[in-house]
Symmetry: D2
Subunit: 140 residues, 4 copies
C-alpha cells in the first residue's frame, strides 16, 4: 500500500486520527513516518500536545508501518501499547518514526519515536513500544 | 477536590477529554471512576470504541484519582502509560476504574481497569498501568 | 495440575526458579500464590531482594497460574513482562499473587502483585503485568 | 567509571549478576555493552537462556550505562522494566546493548537490545525499556 492509501484507510477507520490531522509522510516495508500538525485544540496547560494526542499518533504510526509491510491486514488490532513521555514537545508539528522490530505470523512488535523540533535538532519527546495481533497469516 | 471540580479541570486542560465526553462518576482518596459515552464518531471498524479513546479515558481517570487524593497538583504529568487491550468493548458506554497503588513524593503509580457491559456483567476490556511525575511535594 | 506438580515442573525447567527457592503455596483456575524465602545471597545494597529475583518470582508465578488454569501447556512462553518497583521489600520472604485477567486461545494476560510483610500488614512491593503466548489451543 | 569498575560494582551488589557470569564489554557516556555466556544451568526447555536470565542481563546493562554516564550513583534503583521477548536466543552467548535515551535529574530512561548470534548476523532476541530513579541530583 502507498502512504496515501494507508492514510486514507487509517483516517476512515479511526476518526480520532483524522481529528488530529494525522498524515503519513513516508512508509515502506518495516517502517512509517507520520505527523500531526501543531493545533491549539490539542494542547494541555503549558502549551504542548497532550498525551492522548501523542498516543493516538504513535498507535496510528505503528499501524501504518504494519500495513506498509504486509499490505491490507483485516482486523489487526493493538494488543499492547507502552509509552514513556520524556520531554515536553515544542509547540510545533510532532513526528512519529515507527519501526517494525519483529513481524511474526501472529504478532507484530514495533517501536515508535516521537520527535519534536527543527530538522536536524529533533528532541526525543516520547518512546513507544507496541504489539499488534495479526489475524493468523499462513505459514510461509 | 470534588468529582465535579476534577472534571472541569481535566476538560479545561485536555480538549480531547472533553471531545470524547469524559465524565467523572465518583472520586475519593486513592481512586476515581470515570466514563465515556458510546459515540459513533469514536468507533473503529467493527463498531467499538477506538484504542486512542480508551487510552485517553484511562489517562484522564488516573489523573482524576491523583487529583482526588492530593488536591490540585500543578503540572503533574504522565511519565508512563502501558495499556493491554483484552476484549473489544461492547458498543456502549465505557467505564474506567482507576486506583492509586503507590503515592510517593515524586511519583504516583496507578492501575486502571476499563469495563464494558451492563452492571454486574462488566467485561474487562483493557488493563492499564501508569506513572505520574509529581512536582516534588515536601516530605511529610 | 496440583501446586506440587506445578512447582516440580517449573523448577525442572527454570534452574533460576530453583536457585531462588521458589515454592508454590496455592494454585487453582485463574490464580497462583508463590513465594521466595529471604536469602542473603539475593540481596542488593540496602538489604533487600534484588530486582532480578523479584522478576524471576513474578514470571514463575504467572506461569504457575497459567498451568493451574490450563493444565500442562507445552512451550507456553512469556512474550511480555512489565514490572513497576514500588517499595523496597522487607528483609523477609516475598510473596507473589498472580491472577489471570484474560485467557484467550493464543494469549494469556496476567497480573502479579509482590507482597512483603507480616500477614495482614503486607506492603505492595511491586506490580507486574505479563503476557504468555500459548501454542494455539483448539477453538472451544 | 571504567567498564571494569562498573562490572565489579554490579557483581558485588547483585549476586545474581555474578551468578550468570555478567561481564561488561564496553561502556561510555550514554551506553553500555554487556554479555552473559551461554551456560547449561540457565537454559529452559528448548535449550535457550531463560527469561529471568535475560531480564537480569538487561537490568544490569541499563545500570551499567547509567554508571558510565553519571559516575557512581548511590542508590539508583530500577523503577520500571518492560521486556518483550521476540525470538528464542541461540544456545550461545547473549549480548545486551543499553542506551540512555533520557538522563533527567530524577529519572533515567534506557533502552536495551538483547542480541544473539554470530557477529554481523545477530538476531534481536528481546527489546527492553526501563526507568531508573536517581537520588535527586543537583540542578545543573
Amino acid at each position: 500500500m502507498t502512504a496515501e492509501e494507508i492514510q486514507t484507510l487509517i483516517c476512515a477507520g479511526v476518526p480520532m486520527a483524522k481529528d488530529i490531522g494525522f498524515t503519513i509522510q513516508a512508509a515502506g516495508s518495516g517502517y512509517a513516518r507520520a505527523k500531526v500538525p501543531f493545533n491549539q485544540r490539542m494542547v494541555r496547560p503549558g502549551g504542548t500536545l497532550s498525551g492522548p494526542t501523542q498516543m493516538a499518533l504513535a498507535d496510528a504510526a505503528m499501524y501504518a508501518a504494519i500495513l506498509a509491510t504486509l499490505g491490507k491486514v483485516e482486523m489487526a488490532v493493538t494488543s499492547n501499547l507502552s509509552i514513556n513521555f520524556l520531554q515536553k514537545p515544542e509547540p510545533m508539528d510532532l513526528v512519529a518514526e515507527a519501526t517494525v522490530l519483529k513481524m511474526g505470523r501472529r504478532l507484530a512488535f514495533c517501536e515508535v519515536r516521537l520527535l519534536s523540533g527543527e530538522p536536524g535538532e529533533e528532541l526525543l519527546v516520547a518512546h513507544v513500544t507496541g504489539s499488534y495481533a495479526l489475524p493468523g497469516r499462513p505459514k510461509a
